[in-house]
């Protein structure tokens, strides 16, 4: 039978009647609370919420997760042939990126190719790549850079351009500060975010020296006809509100052997990509033959992203 609260046990007989009406009132409140909780829980995705950390999931759980993500996308955008994968990193592969500062003309095609490929929110606008315009006379000086340059023609005289995106650091400060390990470094060098696990506390954004992490301040909005259906669960799935996102080296493409979207779209071939463990790759050639530098090297983040001058 229903146990009374200890405080009501015993007491004067006169309290019995009061107790009875107290009980029915408690009954009502309890049912109401339970109903409200149930309603609230079904409104949000309980099964999706209650799971273990991504890296501790069994294969079955991952399959269920992928199916759920696919379902959610279909529900939201219609049937676009969504394929959500959790393609694993390949052994013997460590991605590295090279950006040729002597070639970049600041056309921003990479910015928008990335937006299309990775299902970023159009409104509010999220760009994973930010192209900084700087003076040739001053060199690389971010405090004097301008990301909002507008021009009829690029490159503008006396300026050079430095696109910045997630550097996929080997010693990532964002991974260090995340309180719930919602972001971690994969064996192939890509730093990924589990969008279901992220708290949205934005410690990682404060810790990133490259401004590479972006937040979904509200629910991202994408037109259904612009959604890319080829999805990796740790990469370009459409994110929920209140979580952090960032460049993943187009994990859905690169783990399948393709170049990232930014590399392919660059009209002047300023972007180089490959497996740094392969001595014959273009990125190793760059490291061997060209003048290479690392952005904010003094912070010892040891990125997988290298800037170089080919000429």
């Amino acid at each position: 039978m229903r146990k009374s609260l200890p405080v009501l046990q015993g007491g004067a007989p006169g309290e019995a009647a009061a107790e009875a009406s107290d009980l029915s009132r408690r009954d009502f409140l309890r049912t109401a609370a339970g109903a409200a909780a149930a309603a609230a829980l079904t409104a949000c995705d309980v099964e999706g919420m209650l799971r273990r950390h991504f890296r501790e999931l069994s294969r079955d759980d991952v399959a269920k997760l992928l199916a759920r993500v696919e379902r959610d996308h279909r529900k939201r955008f219609g049937d676009k042939g969504f394929k959500v994968s959790n393609m694993a990193p390949r052994p013997g592969v460590e991605f590295a990126y090279g950006l040729d500062l002597s070639r970049c003309i600041g056309c921003r095609r990479c910015v928008y190719a990335c937006v299309t490929e990775n299902n970023q929110s159009r409104d509010p606008q999220i760009h994973w790549i930010r192209v900084l315009e700087m003076d040739k006379a001053r060199g690389v000086d971010v405090m004097e850079s301008d990301v909002y340059y507008e021009a009829e023609q690029v490159p503008r005289p006396g300026k050079f351009y430095m696109p910045v995106q997630c550097q996929q650091c080997r010693n990532p400060p964002c991974v260090k500060v995340c309180p719930v390990t919602a972001t971690w470094k994969e064996p192939d060098g890509i730093v990924v975010v589990d969008y279901d696990w992220c708290l949205g506390c934005r410690c990682c954004m404060a810790a990133c020296p490259y401004g590479a992490r972006h937040f979904n301040w509200t629910t991202p909005s994408i037109a259904p006809e612009e959604v890319n259906p080829n999805i990796h669960v740790l990469g370009n799935r459409v994110r929920p509100k209140g979580v952090v996102e960032k460049c993943t080296f187009c994990i859905q493409r690169t783990r399948a052997g393709r170049y990232p979207a930014c590399v392919e779209i660059c009209p002047v071939g300023a972007r180089k990509f490959g497996n740094i463990l392969d001595a014959g790759s273009e990125i190793r050639y760059v490291m061997d033959q060209k003048r290479v530098f690392v952005f904010k090297e003094e912070l010892n983040t040891r990125p997988h992203f290298y800037y170089f001058y080919a000429t």
């Binding site: 021009a151 170049y259 790759s281």
Partner: protein
């Protein structure tokens, strides 16, 4: 074995190795230079078609016979004159006998689809970078088949200093080609104040 035979065998072996090297995908590291000039390598790079103007190719539509080989200013082809390519003139690259190909300095014909071999003769450092994918653009698979963009997809061979490029639909095929004016950039990102 007489010394001359040994040397000859060595040269043969070396040239065979060099041919193998030249024919294979880009070897690891520098590799020894070949001891004798290799024969013309097969077209080893997959490239999209050169960005000809519609109807321009084949050139033998008009040029059916060899023309006047004397260096002069032409009365036609105004769109590429005067040439802004060093001290060159047309027939330094275009083959007089067969206008549908180009030719190397030693006279060997080179199809337009392999024009990189011609450019690489003078621009060796760019060519060496290009064939490993560091200069210029490649698309495809980082660990598999790649498609190289030709030099002429970014550089107008008649005025090769880079200005800008555009992507144009030439009869149903999207082609990148150089344009004489710099590229127009995509719109600037929205400022944070503009996001509400």
């Amino acid at each position: 074995m007489p010394r001359i035979v040994r040397w000859g065998l060595g040269a043969l072996a070396a040239s065979a190795a060099a041919a193998a090297l030249a024919g294979a995908p880009e070897p690891k590291g520098a590799g020894a230079p070949p001891l004798s000039p290799p024969e013309a390598p097969p077209a080893q790079f997959e490239t999209p078609a050169p960005p000809f103007e519609l109807g321009l190719f084949p050139c033998t539509q008009c040029h059916k016979a060899p023309g006047n080989p004397a260096r002069r200013e032409l009365g036609f082809h105004d769109e590429v004159q005067p040439l802004h390519h060093g001290a060159r003139w047309c027939l330094d690259c275009h083959d007089n006998a067969n206008r549908d190909v180009l030719h190397l300095t030693n006279g060997d014909p080179v199809p337009f689809a392999e024009s990189y071999r011609l450019c690489g003769q003078c621009h060796g450092d760019k060519f060496r970078d290009w064939r490993v994918g560091v200069h210029g653009k490649r698309v495809g698979m980082w660990d598999g088949k790649k498609t190289y963009f030709l030099c002429v997809h970014c550089h107008n061979p008649h005025a090769p200093r880079f200005t800008g490029v555009e992507t144009k639909d030439l009869s149903g095929v999207l082609v990148q080609r150089p344009i004489p004016t710099p590229t127009k950039p995509e719109p600037r990102p929205r400022r944070p104040e503009e996001a509400r």
